[in-house]
């Protein structure tokens, strides 16, 4: 892989990068409309594709939190046109690596020693890149290790990066600045947490211990002594990424087994731990040669407070949904229906959200669900599309916790769909209340 030659240095340079993108997108629109004058049939697909390519180009050069936002946008396939999604998905894999001397420097700062003094073997070329760091192979006492090193300055640049992403987010999502504010803040909090490698080691150990009894799941061992604020050392997991795994044409049985492990992992966390690994992008999973699911990144953990958990997951219960009054109470608690809404609005949102949730909760209704069927996803996407065109949904609704919980569950559904897995969905059931 080519090492990255230039990262825009200061905030000014980074802004310039984004301004450049703005111009390019402007240009894409001009191109689109001038073509359209001659060919009214022209669809917006080409335009979307041009825009997505330009946005991706500038984001991937910025690295760090901007890349993270790109990843996040690509998770929510339902709110983005396909072309954006395809481009953004590329960012879920490799970003270019940093120089050898900087790695040496980071080690010296964290441990006062160079990596060759700490490990028996240390590979200075990184094997792959996470969005805010990169991974190196190492060996100590005969054990293979993965050493994750964070890029310097990532934490500091998060808020300024987000400020620059904002205008694009407004345009992509069609929201106003004020509405987006509380969501952006939630994203910022999670991203800042993600740069805290000491917290990540704690989380990793805690969650991997709590999930130890779930069948067919494997976690790396974490080495606290060899980890620090910018470095995490864990045992090396051998395995294939989802795309590579699918390319080997695995049997339906294996797909189901992996899918089941994934489902159990997420639903155990959501319903039992009430804290969930909220970053289900394919780069965070490995399928081991034994056909187990390996989980390799605990950077992003979303805690679910009771005030959110109960109203949200209770809507998966048909008992509640058949009781209009209680359902509206739950919607109010989730700020999907707001205090100033008129009777007519309450009717409308109740109806619309009920439809949405019934769709979303489908896998939970029966004890088993086949995620390989396109019907479910087509229905999800077309509903998302329909909603994005409704003026009533121009304004953002819902408490901030939705962002990560939706991202987690849509991410999970998407991966299960790609796997083509059929899973038992009643292994870890939501805890529900019927009255609020």
């Amino acid at each position: 892989m080519k090492e990255q030659n230039s990262i825009p240095a200061s905030k000014v340079a980074r802004s310039a990068k984004f301004v450049g993108t703005g111009f390019k997108i402007g240009g894409n629109y001009i191109k689109h409309y001038s073509k359209k004058m001659f060919n009214p049939e022209l669809s917006r697909d080409e335009l979307n594709e041009d825009n997505a390519a330009d946005i991706y180009g500038s984001l991937s050069q910025l690295k760090g939190s901007a890349l993270k936002v790109a990843q996040m946008l690509s998770m929510d396939k339902n709110i983005l046109p396909k072309a954006y999604v395809d481009r953004f998905s590329m960012s879920q894999y490799n970003a270019p690596p940093l120089s050898g001397p900087l790695i040496m420097q980071t080690f010296k700062k964290n441990f006062g020693k160079t990596p060759d003094k700490i490990f028996d073997k240390f590979d200075l070329k990184s094997t792959n890149a996470a969005s805010i760091g990169q991974v190196h192979k190492a060996e100590l006492n005969g054990e293979k290790l993965a050493v994750k090193i964070q890029y310097p300055g990532v934490g500091d640049s998060i808020s300024s990066d987000l400020k620059m992403v904002k205008p694009f987010a407004f345009r992509l999502l069609g929201m106003s600045e004020k509405e987006l504010e509380i969501y952006m803040k939630e994203v910022e909090e999670r991203l800042v947490e993600e740069t805290d490698y000491e917290l990540e080691v704690q989380n990793s150990i805690k969650i991997s211990e709590a999930c130890a009894n779930i069948p067919n799941l494997v976690f790396p061992r974490y080495y606290k002594k060899l980890s620090g604020p910018r470095i995490i050392t864990m045992s090396w997991l051998e395995g294939l990424h989802l795309k590579e795994f699918l390319a080997t044409n695995p049997s339906q049985e294996t797909r189901n087994k992996i899918g089941q492990a994934l489902w159990d992992f997420y639903n155990f966390q959501q319903h039992e731990l009430r804290a969930v690994h909220a970053d289900p992008h394919p780069g965070n999973f490995l399928i081991t040669p034994e056909g187990n699911l390996g989980i390799i990144d605990f950077g992003c953990i979303k805690e679910l407070p009771d005030s959110f958990y109960y109203p949200f997951f209770s809507t998966t219960s048909t008992n509640l949904m058949n009781n209009r009054e209680e359902t509206i109470k739950a919607f109010r608690a989730l700020e999907m229906i707001l205090p100033n809404d008129s009777e007519k609005q309450i009717d409308f949102y109740h109806q619309a959200y009920k439809e949405m949730i019934t769709l979303f909760a489908q896998p939970y209704i029966k004890g088993e669900f086949d995620f390989s069927k396109p019907d479910f996803f087509d229905a999800l996407y077309s509903f998302g599309e329909k909603i994005s065109k409704m003026p009533e949904f121009k304004q953002a609704r819902g408490v901030k916790h939705f962002i990560y919980v939706n991202r987690t569950n849509f991410g999970l559904y998407n991966i299960l769909n790609e796997l083509g897995a059929s899973v038992k969905t009643d292994t870890y059931k939501p805890h529900v209340k019927d009255t609020f």
């Binding site: 030659n5 050898g100 001397p101 900087l102 700062k109 300055g153």
Partner: protein, 215 residues
């Protein structure tokens, strides 16, 4: 008996506590209880001490980076990066002195007196790197410009020094970023680029096409 190091340490101690140079070599010698001529054995003036503190920082860094096992396997770009990281790591131990000394740098484009000797040391080192890069092809030979490469590195150093002095980030992380990005850009410019190919192609056309282009 005063040794060279002792005089140096005493001097740094004095300027950092008092915020200025001693009034005279005489008073400085008296205060530290050694005869004045001992001082002149090693230094001609106070400025000479500062000059030497600076240049020893450079000399130490260069010998340290070259002593690394990994040094020989580094590309020229990585060697430069390694120098800068190590240099600023070493500088941490003398941050107060560096800050004091830089406060007295004469403003302007000239190399400050305090860095005269350091610049020579650094330029020798830069030349070594650049020649190695030219030989391996990592750096592109350009007429008239190649001789100026070493100046570009010196400018980077001056810029980074100023950046570091103003850096408030924990562990001077921002300086690490500045080094990584700055040195990479510098070496990108040293590399063969599309412009070089364009010029080369233009030259080829001018010499060989042998026809006037009619538009």
């Amino acid at each position: 008996m005063a040794t060279k190091e002792k005089i140096q340490t005493a001097y740094i101690d004095y300027v950092l506590t008092e915020g200025k140079k001693p009034n005279s070599v005489f008073s400085f010698a008296k205060k530290n209880k050694f005869p004045e001529e001992e001082f002149y054995k090693y230094f001609s003036s106070f400025d000479a001490i500062e000059l030497q503190v600076w240049s020893s920082l450079f000399i130490t860094t260069i010998s340290e980076v070259k002593a690394q096992e990994i040094w020989e396997t580094y590309s020229v770009r990585e060697k430069a990066l390694s120098f800068f990281y190590t240099f600023f790591e070493l500088l941490k131990s003398k941050r107060s002195f560096v800050s004091y000394s830089m406060g007295n740098f004469k403003k302007g484009l000239h190399t400050p007196n305090q860095l005269k000797e350091s610049k020579e040391v650094f330029e020798d080192f830069s030349k070594e790197l650049i020649n190695e890069g030219l030989e391996s092809g990592e750096i592109n030979e350009r007429k008239f410009i190649s001789n100026k490469y070493k100046d570009a590195l010196w400018l980077q150093l001056a810029f980074l020094l100023n950046f570091w002095i103003k850096d408030n980030s924990a562990g001077f992380e921002k300086t690490d970023e500045a080094i990584e990005k700055g040195i990479n850009v510098t070496f990108d410019l040293f590399q063969r680029s599309p412009i070089d190919n364009l010029l080369d192609y233009g030259k080829f056309l001018a010499q060989n096409a042998g026809f006037k282009m009619e538009f």
